[in-house]
Symmetry: C2
DNA sequence: AAAAATTAGGAATAGGTTTTCCTTAGGCGA
DNA sequence: TCGCCTAAGGAAAACCTATTCCTAATTTTT
């Protein structure tokens, strides 16, 4: 914990050291104005020697810009918002924009408080991210800066949200299972109150219908837990003992499903194939066998959200509505085609 | 994505609206100076009406403070650094300090780059967090601001690091197992090159020795994966078929160990007790039975690190060396005492 | 009633940088 | 030799706020 609080050189000192005026020093360092090459070099050398760094507060004050944005999350930067955040930071960092981080713990009061604070700090834009259930209330109408929702959806049509294409993800899983020759397909997923769960089920059902087949029974809505996966698999097996594949709403559920299937004597993937959702490495790799799963490309979502934000900050016409980002399928053992 | 970029009122406009000078307006809003109550009210009303918020850049410029700190992480804000980060944000946020977030992806070049950027932004302090193996190189000697390492340790004695008490955690597990009547205890853990793995093993071994007993065999160092947990359990069972408990270096390992134990016909906790490490909810709760485990109190680590940083910023004498934060034991099914 | 003290508020400065506008000196052509 | 142009760099304004120092007016004291 070094704490010299060493004095940081100002341009005034650089100018003095180089024997020029402040204005000239500024021009030399920024490549503006007309200066002799020798002078420019002298100033640069002095700045180097004194470790000069322009004070961003002064710059920002003058230019009216802060080159900062706020990142507000509801789910404590959990498993979903982190990759989003990293993707966003990537896109922003490249543009020399720094990110203020805020965790609201899903508390509207705290959220409001943070938004206030961010605005007070003159951020140039805000990214809202979080866990998704139903669309969330808008973080604030008519804020003085652009706002983009990533991995969470605003209830207001005037806002702009970037979310994964859950329907597409469900369809992806369906088509993959069909392509590997499985037609009797069950679905065990999370609570029906989650829009994501409903969309994934829809995507699955529709893709199956398109192929002229149907789901084995109704989608089994439950919890996002392994425990429910185990239960759900039992329910499914009881109703459809001849099931050939199970598409699960999350990798955790898929893991529970896999366990029960094995315990009931079904071999994976020979007897029953399993597809998860999330591509959550520790779950996917820890499963036996490793799970084929749908990846939501969270980093991509964050990147896209950040890029839109940058454009809006740059003055582009504001986007509205919802942008869905395609999912991709990650193949592993659990859906390998039976060579027989 | 609202984007009016509505003009934000300055104190000059507030002053004009209230019919006073800028200085007077400032005093009215900050409760300084001697003003008639009526004047003060008039200014406050004007500020309210115009939605005035003092520009932090101007304030910072004047006071020479930014009320910001940087948070640098190496492990992409992974499972370990996030709780630390949240704890830190908690402590800082209460002090009205905002946090700039940087992810270095464990790349020294990026790290250097970010440190530069943070210093350029005049942060008042830096917290470094990340995944721990061996102590990491110092982020920079003689930086102009205080630095605290949280959940990662600097190789330099001049720096200040806050890390969990891994030895204590191991001892905690050992004493708990002894207290529940188990004496033949095995240990399956992560790679030996991780200081954390070595410390936990030490804590376990020493606590057992203190109680006059010893470890069943040598600690089994391997990987931080479930797969290794499964293998490790087999190795352990082969060498010590009569083992009564297994302390695992992580919850993932514990989960693998549990699976193998069950498959080899051992009941948990009746025949063999299992203790994990990390208290990583999805792993712990997904295990059958749910795992007793050691919690590193990561949030606490973050909070303590932030508090030390705040003190250093406040001018307190700089701390040095390593501060360890006690772990706590979280009891669940996997070590229940056999009632027989 | 005059002097002193208090009250209310204004003017000016500082903080660090960028930019615009000026000044000075030298070079060139007529 | 005079006028004009260009090069090189200086002076000052602007950004916004907080604070210090003043001034003018009012009240209190003697």
């Amino acid at each position: 914990m070094s704490s010299e609080q060493a004095h940081v050189a100002t341009i005034r000192e650089v100018a003095a050291a180089a024997g020029v005026s402040i204005g000239t020093a500024s021009k030399a360092l920024n490549g503006r104005g007309k200066l002799r090459e020798e002078t420019r070099a002298r100033v640069t050398a002095a700045a180097e020697r004194l470790g000069f760094r322009p004070n961003p507060l002064a710059q920002g004050l003058l230019q009216g810009r802060t080159y900062t944005v706020g990142l507000v999350t509801g789910d404590s930067f959990g498993r979903f918002s982190i990759p989003v955040m990293l993707g966003a930071e990537d896109a922003l960092g490249a543009g020399q924009i720094s990110v203020f981080m805020c965790d609201t713990r899903d508390d509207p009061i705290r959220e409001q408080h943070y938004v206030e604070r961010l605005l007070a700090r003159r951020v140039e834009g805000i990214i809202v991210t979080g866990r998704r259930t139903e669309p969330r209330p808008s973080i604030g109408a008519d804020l003085p800066v652009p706002v983009v929702y990533a991995m969470t959806q605003s209830a207001s049509d005037d806002d702009f949200s970037v979310i994964p294409d859950d329907r597409g993800g469900g369809a992806l899983a369906a088509r993959h299972l069909l392509a590997t020759g499985r037609t009797r397909i069950g679905h065990v997923t999370g609570p029906e109150r989650f829009e994501a769960a409903r969309r994934r089920a829809e995507g699955l059902t529709d893709a199956l219908a398109e192929a002229g087949t149907g789901l084995a029974g109704e989608p089994l809505f439950g919890e996002w837990t392994e425990e429910w996966g185990r239960q759900g698999a039992d329910i499914l097996l009881r109703a459809h003992p001849d099931v050939e594949a199970v598409f699960c709403g999350s990798d955790q559920i898929a893991r529970g499903v896999s366990e029960t299937l094995r315990e009931r004597g079904r071999r994976i993937p020979d007897d029953v194939a399993v597809v998860g959702f999330d591509n959550w490495e520790p779950m996917v790799e820890g499963s036996r066998p490793p799970l084929t799963t749908v990846d939501m490309n969270l980093g991509e979502i964050g990147r896209i959200a950040a890029e839109h934000l940058l454009e809006a900050i740059g003055g582009a016409p504001r986007a509205r509505g919802v942008l869905t980002v395609p999912c991709s399928l990650v193949l592993r053992e659990s859906t390998r085609v039976n060579p027989a």
